[in-house]
Amino acid sequence: MDGQGPSPVLGSRITPEPDVDTLQKHSFWKSLLHHREIGVACALIIVFTVFFSLQKHFLSSGTLGDIVTIAAELGVVAVGASFLMISGEMDLSVGSNFAFGGMILAMLITKQNWNPLLAFIVAISCSAGIGALNGLITLSIGIPSFITTLGAMMFWRGVALYLTQGWPISIFEDVPLLRWLGGGRVVATVHISAVWWLIIGVIFWIVLQKTPYGNWVFATGGKRGAARALGVPDVKVKLINFTLIGLLAGMGGCFQLGRMGSMSPVWGQELALEAIAASVIGGNALTGGVGSILGTMLGAITMASIRIGLVMIGAPAYWYMSFVGFIVVAAVALNVKLGEVISWKK
């Protein structure tokens, strides 16, 4: 929202002199419209209404549990993607990093007989390291993160395939840690990974909204020159965010390993674009500087709802892509239009 003025044509259409009542209503709507989550909230309501009208079992606790469980594995990565996106960068390698993190955990437990907790710490550290490496290459050489992480996406997928020779790794023994990561259930069909996702979401929301670091993230992605002049350590911020998304991608992989008991080097292939889509649906600008963690989380829930809903109404599986594509454009269009309305009302 760079303060675009109202178009004269639009401005002239509005009736002047509203009474007090409408003014109050206006201020309510105005405050509502200021939230970037409004677009995704509308999308989510539409998606739920449509699916519920076509399939009466859609609003059951079982379905909702499935939705948040799927949303958790995607959403934990999407939260990282949003953080990085707000600071003006993107990471296409999250899908590979997701599989890599899960693979490392599975391999250390089955092949090396490591203590599961230690293996988990090592696995997510590896993923964080991959993220940090992406950041170091991008920032020190000055190539766009799109290119760095595109290369990383292929490279780490290849390494994961090499390490496993293409075979999935399964853990048949009862490992309590796997239950704690995603195998166990909290209530109905809600897996424990959804709780971890909620906790991670709240932490990142607090960091983004309530701490100086959050301000730095927004400033780095917004107007970098101005941020630098004000003493914001923009390079450091970006490097930290690259590391964080790596860490979260690895965690996502471990959650999925927990739920499935298996990890294949080819899983998570569409994850990068799905995470970006969840962020964008949630009101994050691809160009950086604006965004919301709550919006991202709702975006992930929207996408998981579409996935589950389409199967439940028996629509061909390929509608998923069309539907997500439609929602991405519609939600962003709504946000842009609302942005115009708000700046005009100012």
Binding site: V50, L54, Q55, K56, H57, S60, G62, T63, D66, I70, E73, P168, S170, I171, F172, G183, T189, Q256, R259, M260, G261, S262, S264, V266, W267, Q269, E270, R307, I308, G309, L310, V311, M312, I313, G314, A315, P316, A317, Y318, W319, M321, S322, F323, F326, A330, A333, K337
Partner: protein, 321 residues
């Protein structure tokens, strides 16, 4: 402009939902799901989908085929869970991972939803850990035995044969090889060697050629899939071995069918995946309707020879094979 865009959005949403709602029907109709680890974008699974849809039409029930765009087990599990929440009257799924399917299928059976497996099963050492009711697909070991029996009339007692494996250690391929080897040694007193020819076509030709040089008494070659058949066919053509050596393989693939038509290949085993879709719906329907327990169904009984190659080729184009 704004109105136009708004109109366009509403219109496209209506069209999309219109398209979807035509596939949504009455609530009291029986609904069956067949969920695969790959969707109908893969020609193999498009045939399975056709079987599912045809069975649905024939029985007057709603039969839905679903699968992720690419090979993706977690997504397949998610789809299975969604089918469960939709209160399906029965679900068929491919056992694409021996570990990941334990919990979902236990859950479905616990909720009283019948489940059958199609296309692939868990490896032998884990057999019985996943509580599906029946398996509808090719039995790899039996298919190996079948192809050996088919060629036996043309082989003398004590004949020497070679089974070329392009992916050593692959459970399914090893089972095919085991079936061939057992029949030829037990019934014919033959000598059967197993040869790792790798997945690289050039290497495979070299390995096969040097094997035949070292073992000139070899009278039959078996390959266990297209990746082995393609180099073997090329070698037979290049070295003029047609009529001097018997050759048979597995799976339908244009090179193999052409070789059958040319008389280079005796035949190939077809796993008839149309049956995997069709029979899954039929068995689940009969279970829902008459409580008939689903039974294992070996779809891998198809053997394509010179007589049937042409008609099968047409059926492949029509999407039934």
């Amino acid at each position: 402009m704004k109105r136009f865009i708004g109109l366009l959005l509403v219109l496209s949403l209506t069209l999309m939902l219109g398209g979807i709602s035509t596939s949504v029907s009455a609530a009291d109709e029986m609904t069956f799901y067949v969920i695969a680890h790959t969707g109908p974008g893969d020609p193999f699974w498009a045939v399975v989908q056709r079987g599912v849809q045809d069975a649905g039409k024939a029985l007057g029930v709603k039969a839905i085929f679903q699968g992720p765009a690419g090979y993706n087990v977690p997504e397949q599990v998610n789809m299975f869970n969604a089918a469960m929440e939709a209160k399906a009257d029965g679900i068929a799924t491919s056992i694409s991972d021996a570990r990941a399917w334990v919990a979902p299928i236990k859950e479905a059976r616990g909720r009283g939803i019948p489940v059958v497996a199609i296309n692939c099963q868990e490896p032998d050492e884990y057999r019985g850990t996943i509580p599906y009711m029946a398996y509808i697909g090719m039995n790899e070991y039996e298919a190996g035995k079948m192809v050996a029996y088919k060629l036996m009339p043309k082989l003398k007692k004590g004949a020497k044969a070679v089974v070329a494996i392009h992916q050593a250690g692959h459970v399914g391929l090893e089972a095919r090889a085991k079936g061939i080897t057992e029949v030829l040694t037990d019934e014919l007193g033959g000598k059967v060697d197993k040869l790792d020819i790798t997945q690289d076509a050039t290497q495979a030709i070299g390995i096969l050629r040097s094997y035949l040089k070292a073992n000139p008494d070899t009278v039959a070659i078996f390959t266990v899939g297209p990746l082995g058949a393609i180099p073997a066919i090329k070698m037979i053509r290049d070295d003029g071995l047609k009529g001097k050596i018997l050759f048979a393989s597995f799976d339908l693939e244009p090179n193999t069918i052409q070789a059958i038509k040319d008389g280079i290949c005796e035949g190939t085993v077809d796993q008839q995946q149309y049956l995997q879709g069709f029979m899954a719906v039929v068995e689940l329907y009969l279970n829902a309707k008459f409580k008939l327990d689903p039974a294992d169904y070996d779809t891998g009984r198809g053997f394509i020879t010179q007589e049937t190659a042409e008609i099968v080729e047409i059926l492949v184009q029509q999407g039934y094979r």
